[in-house]
Amino acid sequence: MNFIIDHLSKSFETKKVLRDISFTFESGKIYGLLGRNGAGKTTLFNCLNKDMKADGGSFYLEENGIRRNVEPDDIGYVLSTPTVPEFLTGREFLKFFLDIHGDEIENPQPLDAYFDFMSIEPEDRDKLMKTYSHGMKNKMQMLINVIARPNILLLDEPLTSLDVVMAEEMKELLRSLKTDRITIFSTHLLDLAVDLCDEIVLLSHGELESVDKSNLDDQEFKEKIIAALKEESL
């Protein structure tokens, strides 16, 4: 399965944020989306999640040579600031989500199994989410987004505010989830991107371009990425 973006563009008044985005993402890979501050990473995600209408272009999925539109169920979007309904407990949110999806979920498990999988402690499961820490909310948001097994998982700086242990857990989780789906991961942490992602994609001048690692070692690869990002500001 491929996720194809075709000449996508978006402007705010006179500022062209996304100029001409064309790219093919392949399933089974984690893509690290890098760009300077204000390059338009969040705008790109908002357009792909259809929270914002793009000015032009399109995006679609291609399976066995057959094109189809991206439906809401295809996309899971984890925002940098986690958003969960604060008036529910973690367990209630999960139950609600599973109720809605009913039979669409392959081999559903007891609620506690999901919490165990996400390392959410038993004593936290029945607390209102308004009392959750940032990291806990992040885990809940992630959990909801992965249960539905979306074909495309968009992650906007998901690890930035997690403690080291949680960030490691989350990295493992993302690696374990990458088969059969496209994961696009925006971050400012170069080490993380190089460590976790299979491909590095730069968003610069409103366009996407892949940075080829070829036979560089990690250090050289990082230098190449930084050089490419610096070039952008010239």
């Binding site: 705010f12 008044e13 006179t14 500022k15 908002n46 999640n49 259809k50 929270d51 914002m52 809401p72 169920d73 295809d74 996309i75 899971g76 979007y77 925002l79 600031t81 958003t83 969960v84 309904p85 604060e86 008036f87 529910l88 209630e92 139950k95 609600f96 989500f97 109720d99 809605i100 999806h101 029945d126 209102l128 308004k130 909801i144 987004n145 539905a148 979306p150």
Partner: protein, 539 residues
């Protein structure tokens, strides 16, 4: 420590003014940008537009002058009015007495120096200006404005109560003396206790003193008691002298920075917090805190339903306080009013014909009453902040079918919540009609009940519809939609105007029933057609 030199004063003044002016100009431009249509024409680069900036600057300067004068003008008018209205023939001494007491109260209530404003936060904390010269220069400017305003209004109003000119000229110096003395006193207090008095955070003692002071100012003269002219004048002269001595203290005070860092602590905390949630405004922050507080922590709340009904039931139960409890309270108050009216009708049969006419003629009035008690806006705000704000980021929640399913459930709930007080009002009116002598046409009873219920349904539908069609909030709970504001305002205006309408209940009631039914149907059709597109986050 030396006082800021003439050069330093000029520089500090210039920086302060340009800072205050920039904030004000940007606020004006921001407000312009928020107006629908006009906002769309204005370019994103409007903060650089020279022409617009000049306009905003002019508005800003006019505002500065206006603000300096209007408060004091009102103050003088109130005191003058009081002096004229009280029976005592000695208008001059009475005016002086009022001036003495009120200015002393004002001196401690409104010190300029101990009011932690945003300007001070910007200048002292963010820009780290020299606290002493900033304070002295700004305080000096505030005192100069006070002198000017008192002189102007003293000269204008003093003549009306026959004050000799020298007494009129004494007024500004007296007022400045009181302010200076109060500031010096509070500075000394800070030196002794290490606690800065924040004039916006005051205790019970303050309120008692304020109450006693105001009672002395406006109560005693009603009994013919007030200070004789000579005593007032001697007191004023003493205040001028005390003020002059206080200047030494104010100039010599060494710890302005420490004091302001304590006074401005709230601003620092607030900026930290709102900074964390991407710079949302104070009102949006307040709305959010309020809505979050409305969530009940009661661990006993559960639901046995499934899916959206489950979500809805938990929402309603956890927001009892602002939904059902509020509606029950209103219904209870209405019930008491109806019972009181019934009792009155029974005790004073003479009131019956009037009441009878009221119930048969004043139904339009109840449009406004139902508007006022409707829980619609509170419901939609809580819905957004505590629920939709987060869930709308999940794609399963945004599917058209799901949006409409939840809309139906919510509509049913808000209608139920609003119907309770409406039923009490409608039935109450029908009972009052009966108790006040009844009517020849029994259809009136039914029309009263049904039309009031219809009005209630109308408001429920109306608010939920505009929420779904305009979704006015941003992720930070800021209300961004100009159209939404206009619709709210129009709703108010129309309901207000309804109070002017007088029409037989039968006709108005039947019209209301038809209108509300038609409106509800159209609203639902619109939501079904448009909400899947319009009900989303504002980015």
């Amino acid at each position: 420590m030396s006082s800021p030199g003439a050069n330093g004063i000029g520089k500090t003044l210039r920086i302060t003014f340009s800072l205050r002016n920039t904030c004000r100009v940007n606020n004006i431009l921001y407000a312009l940008k928020q107006i629908p249509l006009i906002g769309r024409i204005l370019p994103e680069s409007l903060y650089q537009e020279a022409g617009l900036k000049i306009l905003a600057n002019v508005i800003s300067v006019i505002w500065e002058i206006f603000a300096a004068l209007v408060g004091k003008g009102l103050y003088f008018l109130i005191l003058l009015g009081a002096a004229v209205l009280y029976p005592s023939p000695e208008k001059g001494p009475l005016f002086l007495y009022l001036m003495v007491v009120c200015t002393v109260i004002g001196g401690f209530v409104n010190t300029y120096m101990f009011n932690p404003t945003k300007d001070k936060y910007y200048a002292l904390i963010l820009l780290r200006m020299n606290a002493r010269s900033y304070t002295l220069v700004n305080y000096g400017y505030a005192i100069a404005k006070l002198l000017a305003a008192y002189l102007l209004f003293g000269l204008l109003t003093g003549g009306l109560v026959h004050l000799p000119w020298w007494q009129r000229v004494l007024l500004p110096f007296f007022a400045a003396g009181v302010k200076l003395f109060a500031a010096a006193y509070m500075l000394r207090d800070y030196e002794k206790t290490g606690q800065a008095s924040n004039e916006n955070k005051v205790g019970a003692l303050y309120w008692t003193a304020l109450f006693v002071g105001l009672a002395a100012a406006f109560g005693l003269p009603a009994l013919g008691i007030f200070l004789p002219e000579t005593v007032s004048l001697i007191f004023m002269a003493c205040c001028v002298a005390a003020g002059a001595l206080s200047i030494v203290k104010i100039l010599g005070f060494a710890s302005y920075r420490e004091m302001y860092q304590e006074l401005l602590r709230d601003w620092m905390d607030q900026m930290d917090k709102s900074g964390a949630s991407s710079g949302v405004s104070k009102t949006a922050m307040a709305a959010r805190t309020q809505s979050e507080k409305a969530i009940s922590m009661d661990a006993g709340i559960t639901s046995s339903r499934k899916g959206f009904e489950y979500l809805n039931e938990l929402f309603i139960k956890r927001h009892q306080r602002i939904l059902w409890k509020a509606s029950e309270k209103i219904a209870f108050v209405c019930l008491i009013l109806v019972l009181a009216a019934l009792l009155a009708l029974w005790l004073y049969p003479a009131a019956r014909p009037v009441t009878n006419e009221l119930t048969l003629q004043f139904l339009p009035y109840f449009v406004f009453i139902l508007y006022a008690i409707n829980r619609g806006t509170g419901f939609t705000q809580a819905l957004f902040i505590n629920c939709d704000n987060s869930l709308l980021t999940y794609s399963f929640y945004k599917k058209p079918g799901q949006i409409l399913k939840l809309f139906r459930i919510r509509l049913r709930e808000i209608i139920k919540i609003n119907l309770l007080p409406a039923f009490v009002i409608g039935a109450g009116l029908a009972v009052l009609l009966f108790a006040s002598g009844g009517t020849d046409n029994p259809v009136n009873y039914a029309v009263l009940v049904v039309s009031v219920l219809c009005m209630s349904v109308f408001f429920s539908v109306h608010y939920l519809m505009i929420y779904y069609l305009l979704q006015p909030y941003t992720a930070g709970a800021e209300m961004k939609s100009g159209t939404y504001r206009i619709v709210l305002m129009l709703t108010y205006v129309v309901c207000y105007l309804m109070m002017q309408v007088q029409m037989p209940t039968l006709i108005f009631g039947l019209m209301t029933i038809v209108f509300c039914a038609a409106y509800s149907v159209i609203a639902c059709v619109l939501v079904y057609r448009l909400a899947p597109k319009t009900f989303k986050l504002r980015l």
